[in-house]
């Protein structure tokens, strides 16, 4: 399938992927600046403070993942439904409006940075809520764009085929979009504000995004391994039940110390302990499909996409499962929250659960755009996956060492005092951990360079038989 033979919806998906990759670069750049500031606090002080770099680093992550998620849906939607995306012109318009709005918001973050403690700041500069700092005008714009997106998905599925993957996505996207509304109103009481804010952050990343990943992961398994659709879809329903079953009340582990009643300790502990179970199930499922198809002698149709999907399976398990469980139960979380533990967990969990699978989806787009029957891994592709994965793992270990120092010194020995905070910050093990985090960040950025190069060139560096197969298919 050449580029001209793609569905219009898939061409739109490629635009979303392009912006996603650019924003991924922005996320890494501003993360690097923030990592330098941990070691050299004077660096860019007064020009681009740590607080601003952190905002751009985190929001770029969320926004690029959303771009890639929307792109992946536009990619698979016409393929699964068997028809063009309904309302694709409107979808294109929404893409340009969203991209212009994102550009304006980023410029405001960088050049205006902060405003007075007035309603106007919430409307035009920032709402000040971590991860979703976008000002209210942008919030409303995002809602409008998402409504267009939902219209495209629902109208297309209604008109075309109703596959299990699409039906799960339809239900999930409604929940995903609806939850955003919980972060759009403001209260003067910070405990109440945080209570609702977690509805967006937690119920996105530990419920609706996980279900989204399961659906898109199922599609990638079908495309790369030729996995049995019935098995994939049956598993998808089980996973939806398990993820919502454990993930929704897993919300409790964010309610331990923000002024909510103490019964959240037990709810949070129980459902947090259950949250790794779907991840084990996902691991078994990918292993099962790989084992079954390997037995039939099938080749992998898109090696980079499958390699990144494998990284997703293990990274999700390690980052969300192992690093999450290590510090989440309330008895130990009393000593770990507010240290670098959540940062260690967050970096590996976001990378494992979402970044890896979105890169996998982008490689599917590259293969489809070039019209290749198979996509093999290039040297640049291997460098990219190796440097990024090893870099993030090293970063996680480095942050964990720093976090351990904080837990022991600041919380355990000094009892969470102001003095304890500074003693822990000055500890040589803490600063060395931060140094290794900076080094690992540079590794990830080098890997990103290889990734961009590979995405731009890998379709031209494939073995001859891949093109020949395509030529034969085209003339058949």
């Amino acid at each position: 399938m050449q580029g001209s033979r793609l569905y219009e919806g898939q061409k739109l998906a490629l635009k979303y992927f392009f912006v996603a990759v650019v924003l991924f670069g922005a996320q890494l750049l501003f993360g690097l600046l923030a990592a330098i500031q941990f070691l050299y606090p004077d660096f860019l002080f007064g020009v681009l403070d740590f607080s601003i770099n952190r905002i751009v680093h985190i929001n770029a992550l969320v926004v690029w993942l959303l771009y890639a998620m929307i792109g992946a849906v536009y990619w698979l939607l016409p393929d699964e439904a068997g028809i063009e995306v309904v309302g694709v012109k409107l979808a294109n318009l929404a893409f340009y409006i969203l991209t212009a709005a994102v550009a304006v918001v980023v410029l405001v973050y960088l050049f205006i940075q902060v405003g007075p403690g007035k309603e106007s700041t919430i409307w035009f500069i920032t709402e000040g809520r971590e991860y979703i700092e976008a000002p209210r005008w942008a919030d409303i714009g995002i809602v409008a764009v998402v409504l267009v997106f939902l219209y495209n998905v629902y109208a297309t599925v209604m008109k075309g085929k109703h596959t299990g993957i699409l039906v799960v996505l339809m239900a999930d996207l409604i929940a995903l979009a609806g939850l955003y509304l919980a972060g759009m109103f403001y209260t003067d009481n910070i405990a109440i504000d945080q209570f609702w804010w977690w509805w967006v952050v937690h119920l996105w990343v530990e419920a609706t995004w996980e279900v989204y990943v399961a659906a898109v992961g199922g599609y990638i398994l079908i495309k790369t391994l030729n996995a049995n659709r019935k098995v994939v879809e049956m598993w998808l329903w089980i996973e939806v039940a398990m993820m919502f079953g454990s993930g929704i009340l897993g919300l409790g582990h964010h309610y331990f110390w923000i002024g909510t009643p103490e019964y959240w300790w037990e709810i949070g502990a129980l459902f947090s302990a259950l949250e790794p179970v779907p991840l084990v199930g996902l691991f078994v499922h990918v292993l099962y499909d790989w084992g079954k198809e390997r037995g039939k002698g099938n080749t992998i149709k898109n090696v980079p996409a499958f390699a990144w999907l494998t990284v997703e399976t293990f990274g999700n398990f390690l980052g969300a499962g192992v690093w999450g469980f290590m510090h989440t139960l309330p008895q130990i979380n009393l000593y770990t929250h507010g240290t670098q533990w959540p940062a260690a967990h967050g970096h590996l969990a976001f990378f494992g659960a979402y970044v890896a699978i979105m890169i996998s989806a982008i490689y599917l787009g590259i293969q489809g755009k070039a019209g290749l029957k198979e996509l093999k891994m290039t040297k640049a592709g291997w460098w990219a996956i190796t440097l990024i994965t090893v870099g993030v793992l090293l970063m996680t270990v480095a942050l964990t060492i720093s976090a351990y120092v904080q837990t022991m010194v600041e919380r355990g020995m000094y009892g969470a005092t102001w003095e304890g905070f500074f003693v822990a910050q000055a500890d040589v093990w803490f600063t060395q951990g931060m140094g290794w985090r900076l080094f690992s960040g540079l590794m990830v950025i080098a890997g990103y360079g290889f990734l961009v190069y590979d995405l731009l060139t890998c379709d031209k560096k494939q073995p001859a038989e891949v093109y020949e197969e395509e030529a034969a298919a085209a003339t058949a």
């Binding site: 790794p276 078994v284 099962y288 469980f325």
Partner: protein, 107 residues
């Protein structure tokens, strides 16, 4: 609630982090060994490692409960949950296999 949240001495922090990680790792090893043996990707005697992993998981959960000073009732619930987890990969694999057999030639 007082029983639920006792102070933890800081010398117990490291064992808690390590054992928490072990809980998840042994859980994955049990499910992983079980699946690859069932798929005949390795010899059948590897199933021993699956059940050894499960036993290690139970021991880890028990020790974690001790370190976190959980109340005796919760300790019993945790061990009960481990028997549920013993069944979990069997159940998942059974369903996957049945669906696969049923739709083997559907694609």
């Amino acid at each position: 609630m007082e029983f639920y949240m006792q102070d933890i001495p800081h010398e117990d922090f490291l064992p808690i982090f390590v054992i928490s990680a072990a809980v998840i790792m042994f859980g994955m090893m049990y499910a992983g060994f079980f699946t690859i043996v069932k798929l005949r990707l390795v010899k059948r005697y590897f199933m021993v490692f699956a059940y050894l992993s499960w036993l290690a998981l139970v021991a880890s959960i028990y020790y974690l409960g001790e370190l976190l000073r959980v109340e005796p009732y919760t300790q019993k619930v945790l061990i009960g949950a481990m028997f549920g987890y013993l069944v979990f990969p069997h159940m998942v694999y059974f369903i996957l296999e049945k669906v696969h057999t049923r739709y083997e030639h559907s694609n």
